[in-house]
Subunit: 79 residues, 2 copies
């Protein structure tokens, strides 16, 4: 469950990043994160903190309810 | 911003916990967390991870969009 849940989160970040036409490096820079952090998030290798989730959503221009509506659908659907 | 954001998160956890008529210890036990962890969360002393946020919401019986709709209203309102 843990791995799938983190991977689904990473896929959502990737979805919104691509919609904003940002590279991983650009998103990392705008968030003030290390340049490798976004790649790790998108591969599901990180379990991000609340504050980092808020920074990601704000930088990606997506509200928390909108982000978590899509995310919840993703994790409720068995892969 | 950091402190206020974490405190607002704690207030939301407290709101849903009380609605479920659970003590901090009961919620901690159902989540598999240390018994002091919920108190720390509710006081805004912790920056919880995604996986712990999911565990909290599921145990409290609140969907992620519902939780984050209330939470976003709380952090968008200056205290």
């Amino acid at each position: 469950m843990r791995e799938q849940t983190l991977k689904a989160f990473g896929q959502e970040v990737r979805h919104w990043r691509i919609e904003q036409h940002l590279s991983q490096e650009e998103l990392a820079s705008r968030c003030g994160f290390h340049r490798t952090y976004i790649g790790q998030i998108e591969r599901g290798e990180r379990n991000p903190s609340l504050l980092n989730i808020l920074t990601l959503c704000r930088t990606l221009g997506v509200s928390l309810p909108k982000f978590f509506t899509r995310y919840e659908s993703a994790i409720d659907t068995p892969i």
